[in-house]
Symmetry: C2
Subunit: 334 residues, 2 copies
């Protein structure tokens, strides 16, 4: 396999740092590696393998000779630099939401729609984290019979707001332990010992932008243009694994036994489903891993063609960094 020149854009953030870690872990065939970030991080040393890599300022001139650019930056920076990346002949695998719903930009979960990678014109989007985790869990069911509707309630970790989100929960807990009033900076309200039922902004129909991603990105990834999803996104005081309670209806009824078997065999999934034995997916068990854990599978009592389940996955890894690098691996295979 030829080694490639790869850049991580936004390398100093929680997802960017994890991308460096995952590239190393998966022994991605790297010729040249660049860690790019804003000017103020230039010169910073980031861990890479047994050593470090020096951060360079990301500019429009950063991408000459690159084969792949992994994006872990803001929507604004992704939009600003995408033309330079494409012009340099690199493929931009972008974790921002900037291009996800653009027609000729593939939106990929490698376990679900790897073939869509071939349609790219220089940009491939990495889906929303909760969407990746939920769809990885339910894709096996969709292969048995198309999913028609999903009602999803999320329990989203603070890592979804990046390294600052992680620090905020940790600091609020330390403040609580010290008897101090917790400071609120990153989230709109205190998150320690609290729940915030808003992630993203009002999208105009009473749903937040984050909530609408589950339907809109789900339609594109699973090739289900008619899929309807009612999603409620809630920030919870958990560090880095997202959990989702999903009730879904398929075209034909899938039995619990059939669902368990399909999910146990599905790529990227692990079935952990023994209620009597107190075995089910939990954030602490799934953190720092790439696998989506699925359990609590049972019949939906409100719909004869429904099933309900609970899934968890690491938001920074499968929800972001690992999924992006899996996409890059698909590019290598071409």
């Amino acid at each position: 396999m030829n080694k490639v020149n790869i850049a991580v854009l936004g390398a100093t953030g929680a997802v960017g740092r994890e991308m460096l870690k995952v590239l190393q872990e998966r022994r991605f065939p790297i010729n040249q590696l660049k860690a790019l970030a804003s000017a103020r991080s230039s010169g910073m040393e980031l861990p890479f393998g047994d050593g470090t890599i020096t951060v360079e300022e990301a500019t429009e001139n950063s991408f000459e000779g690159m084969d792949i650019v992994l994006g872990a930056a803001s929507n604004a920076l992704a939009k600003q630099l995408a033309p330079a990346i494409v012009k340099a002949g690199a493929v931009f695998v972008d974790n921002s939401s900037a291009f996800r719903m653009v027609d000729d930009v593939p939106l990929i979960v490698p376990e679900i729609n790897p073939e869509d990678v071939q349609k790219h014109k220089g940009i491939i989007s990495n889906p929303n984290c909760s969407t990746i985790i939920t769809l990885t869990a339910v894709a096996a069911l969709n292969r048995l019979s198309p999913i028609q509707t999903m009602v999803a309630s999320t329990y989203q970790a603070v890592s979804g707001a990046g390294a600052n989100g992680l620090r905020e929960l940790e600091q609020q807990v330390l403040d609580y332990a010290a008897g101090k009033k917790p400071e609120v900076n990153v989230f709109p309200w205190q998150i320690a010992f609290n729940l915030i039922p808003q992630i993203g902004d009002d999208s105009g129909n009473g749903y937040t932008s984050e909530e609408m991603k589950m339907q809109n990105e789900g339609r594109k990834i699973m090739h289900l243009p008619e899929l309807n999803v009612t999603c409620t996104c809630v920030r919870v005081p958990v560090l880095r694994s997202h959990s989702i309670s999903v009730t879904l209806r398929t075209q034909r009824k899938i039995s619990v036994a059939e669902a368990r078997e399909a999910i146990a065999a599905a790529p990227g999934c692990r079935l952990v489903d023994d209620l009597a034995g107190k075995v089910y997916p939990m954030p602490l068990d799934t953190s720092d891993q790439d696998t989506v854990f699925v359990g609590r599978i049972r019949d939906d009592l409100t719909d004869e063609k429904g099933l309900t389940l609970w899934c968890c996955g690491d938001q920074i890894r499968k929800g972001a960094a690992t999924n992006a690098i899996q996409i890059a691996e698909l590019l290598l295979k071409r």
Copy 2:
């Protein structure tokens, strides 16, 4: 109004202590008050008003002359002592689940089915905490058009496991802050920075006993024998307010505007619903209060006759102690 003789059974627990507090706050017309608990708590002083009350051992002889016994004890103790309470001529308002589904035991949320109190034969049950909070939130919709189905995902505070549950989360957080490994005693797994998607035991159909309460108690309280509920109960690292994400279908479509108006006018509810203004129910805002906060009301995208919403309420108060004392107040009115 005549003053009554009232006993609190299980007075030393989180709910029992709150009952004493709520009796005082609501100026319940008390002639004689007894605080009853197990032998090992006998002689203990509990706060009551500006002073204290001495705990007595609960025995079958404790109830002579009592008018009302508020139960905040285990199912086993409720079953053991109920015959003595009834024989003594007192009404047993029981917070345990022991009698909730018994035919001639009314199951009451005073804002919903106060008239059912009249059917009692000595025992009245206080419903499950999540059920009380959810039904208080949606009762106004059910009055507009009968609820046919609900899909509910709960975010339940540790207070649902009593004073020991509260202590366990607090201790685990202090341990974390001190760099120590958290000890697990009350919950099956660590709850700090985690989620546990199991409350209660396996009820045989893949649902837990706690999850089935929402359907079974909901049917009885709302007089909706056909109501179907798919519920997922999840313990979250929050101290004392339960939150519930509910998607429901009514017989006729209720518009969002109509739902908001009805909920704003509903007894026991407060509408807090302005997503753009970051206003929605949150555990920290609803703790230590009797009101159920309701917000995030919007159309269900999966069902033309559906609505989805988010509600929060204090588990120890409206979910247990306050609801029981509201039932006792209904008895006074007779």
